[in-house]
Amino acid sequence: MSILTREPDSPSVPLPADWRDLVALTKPRVMTLVVFTGLCGLLAAPGSLSPVLAFTAVLCIALGAGAAGALNQWYEVDRDAKMKRTATRPLPAGRMTREGALHFGVGLACFSVLLMGVATNWFAAAILAVSILFYVFIYTIWLKPRTAQNIVIGGAAGAFPPLIGWAAVTGDVAALPIALFMLIFFWTPPHFWALALFVRMDYANAGIPMLPVVAGETVTRRQILFYTSIMGAAALAPVLFQLTGLIYGFTALVATGIFAVLAVQVAMSRETDPAQMKAERRLFKYSVLYLFLLFGAVVVDHWMLPA
């Protein structure tokens, strides 16, 4: 793998990429939520998996997410260079070659899928492969630069981990992991659009047709509220269909209520200055906590009230 590059501040000397840049290429912060939801899917599944194999399954989910992140950065280097939020990433900053990032991403993707197949089962490995391919080809290459609905459909890529975790244990999928998939799927639009509202100019400069850029802030605020209502229904579905117990039900009710209040605040806000968008920032931060709370509750419920 060639990962020699020329840094802007020392153009005469080809430098080997720093290992920290390879780590940064995997988007470790995004990976946290992916790993957590995958782990919860694994822990909530009926049956048992040896701790070593369970650790390996979660590791494969993390590596697969990292590979998808690396390939996303490989493809989007020109767009990342135009956005303040992403301009310091290893590729746009010139700390690594595109070829090196591509090799790293493809290698990591193949390794994670093969290891998942060998350690757990090939059904879980297949879902992991689909999630990586979906993120790279459907979301990054096809949808993201073309439509304002990019994160609505593309949100499916981030919704796969609970299915993978569950399948690693059972070898199939059931109603609960599908409900958790739907929860993340409908959670994605309000989460990303809250962010897109206060970094709208960044997306506009990079030519990415995010909803606030192409349809305006008012439409985006209304859409956040609309998808929050569907997400709320998806969040309560597991307890209504008796897939989980009351611990999850109570957590989902309270946490979704808070989410709805924050979404209403965003919908009613008329703030146009990104620096003053407190309601939008609050919703974005809370949305991350929300997913942690609900998935944590699924696991606690499973342990407290085993079927």
């Binding site: 005469s12 430098l15 080997p16 290992w19 070593v52 060998v118």
Partner: protein
Amino acid sequence: MTPEEQNLIQARQRARSRVTAIILFALVILFFGIAVAKIMGG
């Protein structure tokens, strides 16, 4: 190439070699663990 640039390259190469060694060692342990878990699980 100046001595500073040479030192920087060597420092990065050393750091990457160390990280590679740690990852390879961790993989050896992991594959051993997977093999044992598979054998024990029938």
